[in-house]
Amino acid sequence: MAAITTLKDAIRDNVNSGDTVAFEGFTHLIPFAAAHEVIRQGITDLTLIRMTPDVIYDQLIGMGRVKKVVFSYAGNPGVGLLRRMRDAVENQWPRALEMEEHSHSAMAQAYEAGASGLPCAVFRGYLGADLKRVNPNIKSVTCPFTGEVLAAVPSLRPDVTVIHAQKANRKGDVLIEGIIGVQKEAALAARRVVVTVEEIVDDFGDLHPNLCILPNWTVTALAQVPGGATPSYAHGYYDRDNSAYLEWDKVSADRDLFTTWMQENVLDATPDTFADRIARLKETAA
């Protein structure tokens, strides 16, 4: 059963130093507020899983909280590179970063295999590609009927998956809409699931029967954090803050600037900052 609680308690009770954690959301619904809370609570030595590390992992990596990252595309979407991640890989700043690199297809199917209780994902992939030369976690399996050699990767089974969603009801059932990404699979693949939502409603009312819902008994802890996905977006609530992604390119280009920015915007902030940000976004947009 989902415990409806504060973000602070949800993170404290569920995310430990040394854990393997997936913060998922594909461009849409990236759980920034939860990641910032992890940073504030001093949680470290994390193994982070995410298809697209995005700015959210650039921040965790730049703060030295990450031991290893499992990923498939390390870019600042629509902008360029992830400069903090690159600094960690190329210059070990602020610490060395282990990497396990896959393709999107492999990551998506490895989450799916995790949700399906399987030890590995078997798929058609990496044909002629060099990743399987450098990643020992890419192996193969032979189809016993056709003899085709298929790729195999271990299923992804995070200790904790953290996601942001639009709505929960009072029972703790969680509704995800729009670009749904891999959140359902990442959640069902994990031992514990932390969800932040834009709003908690008394009742979903008359929902379409086939919508993407995580029943409350699949969720460990749930916290309402309006704006918790900014600068990513929440379909039906607020748009992507594209300027923040552009700004990040500058902030992350310089170690000192980055450090100052994180101090002001994360370490000295609270989850309420996110509600303020979307209020400001909406105001200026109006």
């Binding site: 498939s72 390390a74 297809s105 798929f123 990404g181 992507r240």
Partner: protein
């Protein structure tokens, strides 16, 4: 006909290669502009798919990322990312996949992973994302890239995605049943693979572009087709539609940026 930029010519030439019944796996940047230009001109029913799960999307402005909200709002349906990669890409439903990259070789093999050694890279690039399986699962691959000596190299540092390998029947020998890179549109020329060797060969030069200009930006000896034509210049309609698309895009994204 108005004057036009090399980038506009590149986008327009790529758009022309798309057909009304194509199902296209779109990337961000040049492919996105080309695909939407095709949709807004000669291929109104083209199905555009972004790997965020949006199928049959019809954005009014170009998305900044593959997961922009408008892609979902205008789509026929939006599926999960595992479904996208399993049923739609791996399932063989995509006729054309677009790729670009940091480095390309004459056989359309592409590197977007690292410059230098993988484990001690000189430059760490974003990585492959969907590319390794786009390259093998789409019926055809179209590539758009601006030419440069840094990008068009004799030997790429890392095979992020497999094109024609060492050429000839290398794909077939690896058990890959799809056609692979069948078109390379740059800012200077249109290239197509030689039917036998699979080496990318210049088949048309954009208006005003010389063979020397093409060779000057390529790190291997360029093969030219027996008869190299001139790429038809952009029509007024093509240019108008493309520029209006970019203007709408700038206005929309500029507005959002101001709002922040």
């Amino acid at each position: 006909m108005s004057s036009f930029s090399a980038t506009e010519m590149m986008t327009i030439a790529a758009a022309r290669a798309l057909k009304n019944d194509d199902v296209v796996f779109v990337g961000i940047g040049a492919p996105s502009a080309a695909c939407n230009l095709a949709r807004l001109t000669h291929a109104p029913d083209i199905t555009l798919i972004y790997e965020s799960g949006t199928i049959g999307t019809k954005p009014d402005v170009l998305p900044l990322s593959i997961g922009d909200g408008e892609l979902c709002e205008t789509a026929v349906t939006t599926v999960s990312v595992p479904e996208m990669f399993r049923y739609w890409l791996q399932g063989g439903r995509i006729s054309v996949g677009f790729l670009g990259g940091a480095q390309i070789d004459r056989f359309g093999n592409i590197n977007t992973t690292v410059i230098g050694d993988y484990h001690t890279p000189k430059i760490r690039l974003p990585g492959g994302g969907g590319a390794p399986e786009i390259a093998s699962s789409c019926q055809k691959v179209f590539i758009t890239m601006k030419q440069s000596l840094r990008g068009f190299v004799d030997k790429i540092d890392f095979y992020t995605s497999f094109g024609h390998g060492e050429g000839g029947d290398h794909r077939k020998r690896l058990g890959i049943t799809t056609q692979g890179p069948m078109l390379l549109v740059t800012d200077l020329a249109v290239w197509e693979p030689d039917p036998i060797s699979k080496e990318f060969t210049v088949t048309s030069l954009h208006p005003g572009v010389t063979r020397d200009a093409v060779q000057a930006t390529v790190g291997w000896t360029v093969a030219f087709a027996d008869s190299v034509t001139e790429t038809p210049p952009p029509t007024t309609e093509e240019l108008d539609v493309l520029r209006a698309l970019h203007a709408r895009t700038d206005a929309a994204h500029g507005k959002k940026e101001k709002a922040a």
